[in-house]
Each structure stands twice: as structure tokens, then as C-alpha cells.
Amino acid sequence: MNIHMTGVGGQGIGLLSELLLRALSVAGMEVRGVDTHGLAQRGGVVNSQIRTGSGEFSPLIAPGGADLVLALERHEALRAVGGYLRDKGALAYYDAVWQPFEVRNGSVPGVSTEALHEECRRRDIRAVRVFRDDLPDPRMQNTALLAEVLHNDLIPGLRPEHVTQAMEDLLQGGALKANLEILGVR
């Protein structure tokens, strides 16, 4: 399975990718992944990719090769769907909006939920929108998204206990507790 994750620098794509990679490994899958570091982390588009399967293969996914896109921002959800997701694939996105400069200054229109879902319908893509108004910190939107990935069974073979194990490997103290709580709400 090929999973493309995306968002804006500062949203926590790195942690989402790290958690998911480890959880899939805990679930017994052979995994490869890759993250964006450097310049783009300053408010630019940040992508991570994960691939499961056996044998030697690249950590990078070809355009149109992703089975699932996980996005933390609406504009980036559309960009990833258009650039990486195959027809009949699945999108799960947290509906945060971090407007690019040209949307903020009004020179181009922003992406609406309707436009995004219409594009998904056109290409027979299952779209799952996630939004919660009870998060204590916007930096936990990644975990809220992961909870919905589990709830909607978007990754066959991935179960909550795998994600819990990954969280316990990577987090501690208050951050672990808060993230486990968000994961466990459903």
C-alpha cells in the first residue's frame, strides 16, 4: 500500500508519518518511508510517504501511485489528490485552512470543501473529512486524523493497538497521555 501524507510546514506531518510508519511495522508489515526536511518546513508544502510491501523498493511514490492521501490542510489535500492519488483511491483530511499568500491577498480563490469533494467524486475517490472543535491544541490535529483513519478502516491490517504501541515508543509524559486520549475518543 502507498500512503502519501501532506500538510504545511509546522502542522506536524513529521510526527504523523513517524507514528504511522512505526504502527505499520508493529502490525507486521515491511515498511519504507521518507519525509521532507529543510527549506519547505518554513511554511511550505511538506510531504511524507510510506510504502508497505516486501522486497527492495523505493521510499518514493510515483504520481498517481498513492492508494491513500492523508492531509492536514484543505489546499494541500487538493494538491496531493491531484498530484499523487490514483483514481478510486481514498483521501482523509483534517479540514484546517492555512491560506497561501495569494489566497490571503485575494489574487486567487481558495479551495472550498465543496470543490475538493466534487473533484473526489469525479475521480471516484472516497473522501473523509475530519474536523474537531474540542482539541486542546491545534498541533494534535494529526492524531485526530489518525483516529479517523482507524475508525474508517482506511489501512487494512492497522488496528488501534498498533498505533498505541507506536505512540508509546515515540512519546512520553503529557504528550503521550494527550495523544492517546484523542486517539481513544472513538
Binding site: 518554513r42 492555512w98 499568500f101 495569494e102
Partner: protein
């Protein structure tokens, strides 16, 4: 929670999910490396992050971030020539800075062995070019190992250290961005943690390390002979698909792309996967050529392997058709699975199906990187812009402030390399009395390569306004310390204040302003621009990304926000259109401005930009949202 630092020092073999950069550090531990140096630069700084996870007193080697890559190579060479197995790492263009010393290394006898890890950047994800550093390796008689994955990065680091020690030489380990940042399960070996022999071993008798006169020819002869002798067995391998017609020679990450693309292909070509890309093994290459009618050399960036393979085919009298770069595009960018499919389909359409076209899909508005909420550079550019005339020439340097060239600021219209802004600015000011010239320089860059340019301005009486954008850290690469911060990688250290350095050079005209004090900064820059000779403005404000992360970790921290007063807002949109903070958002229908509370850090630097006084800091929990 798993502790990375403890894992990296584990005495028993283990398996762990790690990125390539982290795998290298376990390799250094197992190989008995004693000294590691660097200057931070993508895609390699996470090597230092992994090193930092090991408690300083338990670290089996000394590590330091040096002031620049040249000094880093020199420190590592000094340690290695004294018998310490050493490693230096930096980004692709870092090798340019280091090259004056790097090209000499293999003229020397280096008893400890020295491994130079270079993070090349095909695709220029985080660099000003995508230079192919295999050329500098050839120029300096340095062997090159090129891993394709984190597992190979670890294994090749062990091999590189062993080669370097055995032949008392320097060896290059050439990583690329997505080998550094790829993650997979890596099987590591054990580490006995035996005591190390730290006897200083330098022997300089007979002028052995002095490349002067007749010695140079002798040293060069040894370098050439040693290069040929350095090859280790088992680095290259052939993947047989039983195809006598077609073969592919490849290396590094493109090898994995080839495997991906060929997984569904009809009549798969055989593959020769090179681990050592310089020097090439004549036996291996000619054997592979002999076994095929047609061989494609599939390599990222330049035709480095292709040229040698063609020469070998010629010298061996082989009639095998050798294919390589087919068009200009083949020299550019990263050979991802998508790109490799395009290339193989173009060449062998009967075997590889065409890439999926994504061209008809709905596009999203473009998003460039931008300065963070609260960034002191934003206030600086906003204020400096008010002091500039339209035809003034602004020269940027490397660092977060480079982003000033983007809208809405569009300041810093030339960019070259570390520390280049001052020299370029001086050239721009010659025969030029009409257009004033402003050069920008970050603080880490000031120490790295900025000082000689400043001295040249004094030495040759140039007219220039220099603005030092001081944020108290090396921000772009992940907040490393530098000589002006009062800490090095390991300990507190004597801080070197930039202002005192400039004063020590005899510069009289220096003003220091906190960038949040925008009016004062505009005035200071306006005055500096009108003064003859060299004038300096130190535009300082601590990196707010680093600051806000530190604040958030404190117990009882509550996030503040700025709020837009609907009553007062006259839709002048100064905050969005000219100040450009990403924390503001625009309602697509009404055009009204409000705050994105996910982003706003409540620093309030925007408040002074509003002509109608509509912005104000809000106490936590009082938002009207």
C-alpha cells in the same frame, strides 16, 4: 518511550526503524570513529540530531559543529592524521567551501582514515544548485561509495571507514537527499565498546605531509595508485533477469526507482547496481557489457558513470550499444520512480508502460515557503522596505531571510552562496552613483564566510550598507548553535558578539535595532543608506519559531493571539498585503480579515502595521471565535 541515544550505543545487534542519517551514526559507533565534525546543512543535519541523542559523557567520539565546512574538514583531517578514525559531514555545496583542503587530502598519508559524508541534493530541495560532487571526488583521487537506502548507508559507512583506515586515505560517502531521509528497518551489528588506542600517531618525518616541489609529484603518484587499490569486493552486484539483450547500470536511489518500475515490466533488463561509483571496476563493467547487446547507464545528474562506461567499452573493443543521457532533462532533477518510468518508457516502450498522467486534475493555488508567524525578519523587511527607493539594489545571502525575495517584500533580489552578499554588493556599487546597494547577511553566515567580504569593503573603501539579520541561531537548518550564541554543540562557550567584531575591524557606522521596533529600524536604515562608505545595521530579533517552541514546553503556558477588531478594520489590509504574516486569513466572500488561531503566536509584531489601529493582543480564552 524508546530512547534513541541508548539504542545507538547498544552492545548487542538490534533492528530498528531509522532514517539514513541516523543509521550513519550507529555505523560511526560500531566502526570506532573518534572524531566527527560538520557544519549544518540539508540534507545532513539530522546526523547531528542523532548524535545529540547520545549523552555527551557516553559518546564514544568527539563531535563538533565547526564555523564552516572548510574548518570542519581541517579539524577532522588533523585528528585523522594523528591516528583517529574521523568523519566529516555536510551538504553538497558545503564541499565547495571545504574544497581548498578537501582536494589535498589524498595527497597525504592519513593513518586514522577520514570519511567525508556529502549530502548531494538532486532536485535542489534545499540547495542553490544540484551539483554532482562525484566530479570533485575524481579531481582529488577520492573513492566514492554511493548507498541507495538506510541499510546500505550503514553498511557502506562501515566499509568506508575500513577502506580509509586500511589505505590511510580519505573516502567519500555520497548520500543524496532521499537516502538521508528515507526510513526503513535496519539490522545493526554489535558494538563491543572496547577501550580505544588514543596514542598520538602523527609522524611528519622527512617532510611527508608538506606538498611542496618534488614532493607533490610523489604524493600524486601515491594518490593515484592508492585510489585503484582501495576497491573493496562485494560493493557492486548484478541482478539477473535472464535478458541477454538489455542491461541497466545504475546506483544510489535511482536503483530503487528502477526496481519499482520494472516490477510490472515485460522482459526485464538485467541490472548492474554499483555501490562504488569511483573508480569503476573495469572487470565488472566490461563483463556486464559483454553479456548484453544494449546497456543503459541510468544515473541522476551528470553523465559521470556513462563517460567511463563508454570509454571502457571502447578500450575493450566491445560493440555493445551504450545508452545514457537522451536529452537535456535527463541531466536535471531527481530520478524518482515517476521520472525513471518516463525514461524507460521512452527508450523501451515494448517493456515499460507509460506513466499515469495527472495533467487533467484540479490544481491547488501555489504555496511557497514563508517566514514563520512572529519572525523578526518579517518586521525587518516591512520596515526596511519603507526606507528603500524603488531602484535600490538588495542582495540576499543564505538563510531564512532569503525568503524575503518572495511577495509581499521582494527584498534581496540576488542570491549566490554563503557570505557572498557583501562582495557582490561591493561590485554592484562600482561606477554606480544612482542606485544604492544593500547587502543582507545572517548571523551564522556572518561567522561562516561573511567576514572576509566585510573586511574587503573596509580594505578597498567600498560604499555599501550591510544589514546583519541576527536571530541568534542557525534557524533554517534546525536551530544549531553558532559562535555568537554562547553555546557550542556540547557546552557553554564564550559568546562572540557580531557588533564587537565589526567594531574591532574599525567600522564606525554601526546601528543595532530590534526589528520589532519597526519605526526605529526604518530610520536607522534610511540614515545608513545616506552615509558614505560602509554602514552597518544589525537588525536583531530572536528566532520566534525557536522561542515559541521553548515557551510552549513551559508548564502553565497559555497561547495568546492577536485579534482583528471588526469595528475598527477599514480593510486597508496592510497586515496581509504588505506585512504578509501567514496568521491572517481572508474571507473569500466578504474580504474581511481575521486571525488564524492555529498559526498566530500572539507576538503582536503586526499591531504597529495597522493604519486603523484594528489589531490588538487578546488575553487567552477571550477570543470572539
Amino acid at each position: 518511550m524508546k530512547k534513541l541515544g541508548e539504542m545507538l550505543l547498544g552492545e548487542s545487534p538490534f533492528r530498528e526503524l531509522v532514517m539514513g542519517n541516523t543509521a550513519l551514526v550507529r555505523g560511526m559507533v560500531e566502526a570506532g570513529v573518534r572524531v566527527v565534525t560538520s557544519y549544518p546543512g540539508s540534507p545532513t543535519p539530522e546526523i547531528a540530531t542523532a548524535i545529540a541523542s547520545i549523552r555527551k559523557e557516553l559518546r564514544p567520539f568527539h563531535f563538533e559543529f565547526c564555523v564552516n565546512e572548510k574548518v570542519a574538514v581541517e579539524v577532522a583531517y588533523g585528528a585523522a592524521v594523528n591516528g583517529r578514525p574521523s568523519v566529516v559531514f555536510f551538504k553538497s555545496v558545503g564541499l565547495n567551501v571545504a574544497s581548498d583542503t578537501f582536494v589535498q587530502l589524498n595527497h597525504m598519508d592519513i593513518p586514522g582514515g577520514l570519511v567525508v559524508i556529502v549530502g548531494d541534493d538532486p532536485g535542489a530541495h534545499s540547495s542553490q544548485n544540484e551539483q554532482d560532487n562525484r566530479h570533485l571526488a575524481r579531481m582529488s583521487y577520492t573513492p566514492v561509495l554511493e548507498p541507495a537506502s538506510p541499510s546500505e548507508a550503514y553498511a557502506f559507512l562501515l566499509t568506508a571507514v575500513s577502506m580509509a583506515r586500511k589505505h590511510r586515505m580519505a573516502v567519500m560517502l555520497r548520500m543524496t537527499t532521499h537516502v538521508c531521509h528515507a526510513k526503513e528497518m535496519v539490522s545493526f551489528g554489535g558494538w563491543p565498546n572496547t577501550p580505544r588506542d588514543d596514542t598520538p600517531g602523527f609522524d611528519g618525518s622527512g617532510g611527508s605531509h608538506i606538498p611542496i616541489g618534488a614532493m607533490v609529484a610523489r604524493m600524486k603518484k601515491r594518490a593515484i595508485e592508492r585510489l585503484q587499490a582501495s576497491r573493496e569486493p562485494g560493493l557492486d552486484r548484478v541482478l539477473e533477469n535472464g535478458n541477454p539483450k538489455r542491461g541497466i547500470i545504475t546506483a544510489g536511489l535511482p536503483f530503487l526507482s528502477v526496481l519499482d518500475v520494472l516490477s510490472g515490466a515485460a522482459r526485464k533488463p538485467d541490472i548492474l547496481k554499483l555501490g562504488m561509483v569511483h573508480p569503476l571496476s573495469l572487470d565488472t563493467i566490461s563483463g556486464f557489457l559483454r553479456a548484453h547487446e544494449e546497456v543503459l547507464v541510468l544515473e541522476e545528474l551528470d553523465d559521470f558513470i556513462e563517460q567511463s562506461v563508454k570509454a571502457m567499452a571502447h578500450d575493450s573493443g566491445l560493440s555493445t550499444r551504450v545508452l545514457g543521457k537522451g536529452c537535456t532533462e535527463d541531466w536535471i532533477g531527481e530520478f524518482t520512480p515517476g521520472r525513471v518510468r518516463e525514461i524507460l518508457h521512452r527508450l523501451w516502450p515494448d517493456s515499460v508502460v507509460a506513466p499515469v498522467s495527472m495533467a487533467g486534475n484540479l490544481a491547488a493555488p501555489v504555496r511557497f515557503p514563508q517566514m514563520c508567524p512572529g519572525c523578526g525578519h518579517r518586521s525587518a523587511f516591512f520596515a526596511i522596505g519603507k526606507a528603500l527607493r524603488k531602484n535600490d539594489i538588495t542582495v540576499a545571502d543564505i538563510g531564512c531571510h532569503t525568503l524575503g525575495f518572495l511577495p509581499p517584500h521582494e527584498i534581496g533580489r540576488l542570491l549566490m552562496s554563503m557570505g557572498a552578499s557583501t562582495g557582490i554588493g561591493q561590485g554592484l556599487s562600482l561606477f554606480n552613483s544612482e542606485r544604492r546597494v544593500v547587502a543582507f547577511l545572517g548571523d551564522s553566515t556572518f561567522f561562516h564566510a561573511g567576514i572576509p567580504g566585510v573586511i574587503n569593503a573596509i580594505f578597498n573603501n567600498h560604499r555599501l550598507t550591510l544589514i546583519v539579520m541576527e536571530n541568534g541561531t542557525t534557524a533554517m537548518t534546525g536551530h544549531q548553535e553558532h559562535p555568537g550564541t554562547g553555546r557550542n554543540f556540547n557546552d557553554p562557550t564564550e559568546r562572540i558578539p557580531i557588533r564587537k567584531v565589526l567594531e574591532g575591524l574599525g567600522i564606525q557606522n554601526i546601528t543595532e535595532v530590534d526589528t520589532y521596533n519597526q519605526k526605529a529600524l526604518t530610520t536607522a536604515v534610511g540614515k545608513a543608506l545616506e552615509s558614505p562608505g560602509l554602514s552597518v545595521v544589525i537588525a536583531k530579533h530572536p528566532c520566534m519559531l525557536k522561542f515559541s517552541r521553548e515557551q510552549r514546553r513551559k508548564p502553565g503556558f497559555v497561547q495568546r493571539h492577536v485579534e482583528v477588531s471588526e469595528d475598527k478594520c477599514t480593510l486597508a489590509r496592510e497586515c496581509i498585503d504588505r506585512f504578509g504574516c501567514p496568521s491572517f486569513k481572508r474571507d473569500g466572500e466578504t474580504g474581511r480579515v481575521s486571525t488564524n488561531t492555529d498559526l498566530c503566536i500572539g507576538d503582536g509584531s503586526c499591531i504597529q502595521t495597522c493604519p486603523s489601529d484594528a489589531l490588538g493582543a487578546v488575553a487567552p480564552g477571550k477570543e470572539s471565535r
